[in-house]
Symmetry: C2
Subunit: 395 residues, 2 copies
């Protein structure tokens, strides 16, 4: 009895606000807890929102093609009592983001605590069933460790934050591991690949199924004018703007060896070209192609995911000025994989085509993977699951 | 020029949804980006929400005394154009949580990406200025590492997730450190102390100011029927319910030495009683008092933060059955600090009083710290900043 009183009080009491939110989680007529989203066996999904006085609610989700026709980017919910609901058709196997449009203003789904920030918005997310999304889920397999650490960059004269995935049993073992450096896009930071990119889940699952070699994955912050993700640096909390002066400055490329040095001094890793990979999406793809050509004899595996190519006006910087020369050196030094992924509808498709022409012109060998869709995390997660099994095969 | 086109496209394009959200972030008349919340120099705070067609908006915040009068738990926002706003009076120095009530349904503030989950809701948060909140902010001081790891519990026959803070320079050094085991309440998990409890920031800042000895802080999951926080285990995403059968079962206490063993095998830590502390809030306070009495000669420092005392009906379990005997043994074995924090308005105040009477009766020495307020994270962060400087002083 005492136990129950305490438990109920703890349940409601930890924060005054729980009280309010808890009430609206109970459907007034059905007297049961409402669930949103609910993923059905056929991958259709039902959303439910309590909004007794609203005039019009819609679901805004990234599975909708908002360019198709006007208004196709949101789907109207139906009202029943104080609740609104909407059920999708069968969705693909993936992680999806969405929000709720309430009378023309966009909010999160209050019943879904699972949220991820992407650029300057926080979205609700859910995972559907099926083969591809299975890589993104947690299973009872051996798990790696995810750490946020700070490293000194002498080149930038800053202490900066990065995220490191170490594979299962790394801590207990003695062996040395290869390393993948994995870079985010312009809207991201050191938290993007671990959250939107599902790196921990993908690595755990692909290592467990022996599709991928155990490796470290190092996810630094690609905006060198920042030291850490929003809210995690001494700038505190601020309105997020990634249109920073460092974009295209060449400073990420010039300072990148500080990160390699830090990792190789602080972790049990192999320090050869054959045990180093680098990949990045969008702006991080641009970083990847410039870094891998700028640093001689450093990477045997290079991955460009929807890569931006020229993001610079700073043609005097040696990273960009000597690029074609560096590319030829990279070709002559040799490498094992130069992997390019691009979506058919990506707004960078044309740029990517031009870049492949340049590679052809320089007789640089590469593997090209063209997917459906555009400039999306759906593609970047897919590219990661395609790229990882090709790494460190003879290592 | 090319740079700018690519940058603008990347800025808007990473996700289709950005487009919509980005538009509403611009005030239609002022043509500038709107900010919410805005913390002013005097610690008053302005909230702004775009909601052109709503009838009534209110801010619901945990600084409001919702028990004072009906409706005092929310504050009405004023409409101007399509925007609503509300400015508080000067707030105390702290981290605050809030949501927005839109026509009777509660949502998050779409302009504030900074969010924390507490129990089964995700709240927006902000930090005010002043002395106490300064411990909770990030400064340019040496930073520790925060890791999520999995450990094997032979007692529970499970692999479970925990969070570990290692102090600045832990990885580079050779010295051994003391350890604080820090336990969450019934609504929490291994992510509660790092997020709501600001453990990384508090430790970094207090170590940098030499108020606190460098130490590891280990934050396990106190619900032994779960292996990890919601969304982080093979249960996947599910509606959160912490009213689990393990509460008061004694299994957390019985299996706790598995956690100590894991930490002492895997980290450079001192393995003496004088270098071990344990503390917990609410249910975690209950865990703390039972674990510290159940395990002989293990902890020299014990902290009970708004502790629940008897949460068990399982009187046959030796953890509870032999409690008074264990307490006398704990007293005779000796310890350096038995610290109790409780808020004057805590619904567990009376229980705490009874527990102190028991301690008096058994001639157990303790330090008692009574604060204002109730069963809140505001108090638990405060208690942590009071407790930490007292640990490992002669160590």
């Amino acid at each position: 009895m005492l136990k129950n009183i305490i438990i109920i009080s703890l349940w409601l009491g930890s924060l005054g606000l729980q009280h309010i939110a808890a009430q609206e989680n109970i459907h007034p007529t059905e007297k049961k807890r409402m669930i949103s989203p609910e993923v059905h066996a056929n991958n259709s999904v039902t959303f439910r929102v309590y909004a007794p006085h609203a005039q019009r609610l819609s679901v805004v989700g990234n599975w909708m093609d908002r360019n198709a026709t006007a208004g196709a980017g949101k789907q109207a919910m139906q009202k029943e009592g104080s609740y609104w609901s909407y059920t999708t058709g069968a969705l693909p196997s993936d992680l999806f983001l969405y929000q709720i449009d309430v009378d023309g203003a966009v909010f999160n789904d209050p019943l879904n605590v699972y949220q991820i920030r992407d650029v300057n918005n926080t979205f609700n997310y859910f995972l559907t069933g099926g083969e591809q999304a299975a890589w993104y889920k947690v299973y009872d397999v051996p798990h790696g460790t995810m750490s946020t650490r700070w490293y000194k960059s002498p080149t930038l004269d800053k202490t900066r934050r990065l995220t490191v995935y170490t594979p299962p049993n790394y801590e207990a073992g003695k062996g040395k591991y290869p390393v993948l450096y994995l870079l985010h896009g312009m809207g991201g930071d050191e938290e993007a690949w671990p959250s939107l990119g599902r790196v921990g889940q993908i690595l755990d699952n692909m290592i467990a199924s022996a599709k991928v070699k155990p490796m470290l994955v190092v996810m630094p912050n690609g905006h060198v004018s920042n030291t850490a993700a929003p809210g995690e640096s001494s700038r505190g909390q601020y309105p997020i703007d990634f249109f920073t002066p460092d974009v295209g400055s060449g400073k990420m490329e010039e300072s990148f060896s500080d990160i390699i040095d830090f990792i190789e001094r602080n972790y049990r890793v192999k320090k050869q070209k054959a045990a180093r990979a680098i990949a990045g999406l969008s702006m991080g793809g641009s970083h990847t192609l410039f870094i891998s050509s700028y640093l001689p004899q450093t990477f045997d595996y290079i991955g460009l995911f929807s890569a931006a190519f020229k993001m610079n006006d700073n043609a005097e910087n040696p990273v960009f000025r000597d690029f074609e020369k560096n590319l030829v050196r990279q070709r002559d030094d040799g490498y094992k994989l130069y992997w390019i992924g691009m979506g058919k509808k990506d707004f960078l498709y044309k740029t990517g085509e031009q870049y492949r022409e340049l590679l052809d012109d320089k007789q640089m060998k590469y593997t090209y993977y063209e997917s459906e869709g555009g400039h999306t995390w759906s593609n970047w997660r897919l590219y990661l699951t395609e790229f990882l099994p090709k790494l460190f095969r003879n290592n």
